[in-house]
Symmetry: C2
Subunit: 154 residues, 2 copies
DNA sequence: TTTTCACTGGGCAATCTGTCCAGTGATAGG
DNA sequence: CCTATCACTGGACAGATTGCCCAGTGAAAA
């Protein structure tokens, strides 16, 4: 899927996102056009979805993170999805196999505020039950580089 | 924490990450120095952690995502953390309150490969039990803009 | 053998960046 | 009421980068 040069380019971009394509090509030891072409391909491939700013919720006043497992009333999936999509504190939502039916990541201004968020999340007809786990520590923040390295070495 | 101009700047950067600070200042209707200063402040504040490329695991050969809840043997937290940090397929790891002790996000090349990943994750002395939920759909991909809007309007 | 493809190395104009500066208006402290 | 501070404006400058073009080369595929 991606070769070693792609992997090194992704790693470079992840470590120093501010460098331009010219500087990247210098570091990779290839011509600018090559780096350019690789980056274009990675983007049109969908390997790189974008370069959006990585915003820290804690820094904008939402230091509390939690994961909620939701159990959904049969046939209510679609309405629950759109309900949750309308709650800003829901940062992501997955439908899953297993005990619950959905798993979502929440943030809140405080532990007390988390109660308000949860009430808003579960205060919806299609949701039968919710079980919440508050995040205390984040020993491994969302990362992709190790996986990219592995993928580019196969 | 952040005002309306910060919010609009973040939104702009999230929607069109490739625009430079000059174009951003034009769209926001402020002087370039102002946009520059705001961006610098957001970065030194830690509001913007970086601009790393958003890589899609599915596009590099890991289309299966799962969440695993782990139960840890007392006092083994540190060693489990470093064990999991060494597994490339572990994209993030949180310690939580609630039934489990840790929650991690995993990816794999296939459902069969997920078994290998899980074996590697739980094949470690400090881990007592693991319960895995495979992601089927992702109705709300990781997002931050709605929260930024809310935060900038208080 | 011929075609295709990725890469090299170069050049060009247009644009953007980093870095200054002086002037202005609002706010907070005295 | 006066003054210092701060954020913002609007402008300037040289240097770097970008988007785009080109011809030539080597390897792999047809």
């Amino acid at each position: 899927m991606i070769d070693h040069l792609d992997g090194r380019l992704l790693e470079l971009l992840a470590l120093e996102p501010r460098i331009g394509i010219l500087e990247a090509s210098r570091r990779l030891g290839v011509a600018r056009g090559t780096a350019q072409a690789r980056l274009d391909r990675l983007q049109s491939n969908g390997v790189i979805r974008g370069f959006g700013p990585d915003v820290d919720p804690a820094a904008i006043g939402y230091p509390v993170t939690a994961f909620a497992t939701l159990e959904i009333k049969q046939g209510q999936g679609a309405s629950v999805r759109s309900h949750l999509a309308g709650v800003p504190e829901v940062l992501e939502l997955h439908t899953t196999t297993g005990h619950g039916d959905m798993l979502c990541r929440l943030v809140a201004r405080s532990n007390a505020d988390l109660q308000r968020v949860i009430d808003r999340v579960v205060g919806f007809d299609g949701i039968v039950r919710a079980s919440t786990a508050i995040v205390m520590e984040n020993p491994v923040p969302l990362r992709i580089i190790p996986l990219v390295k592995q993928a580019s070495e196969d």
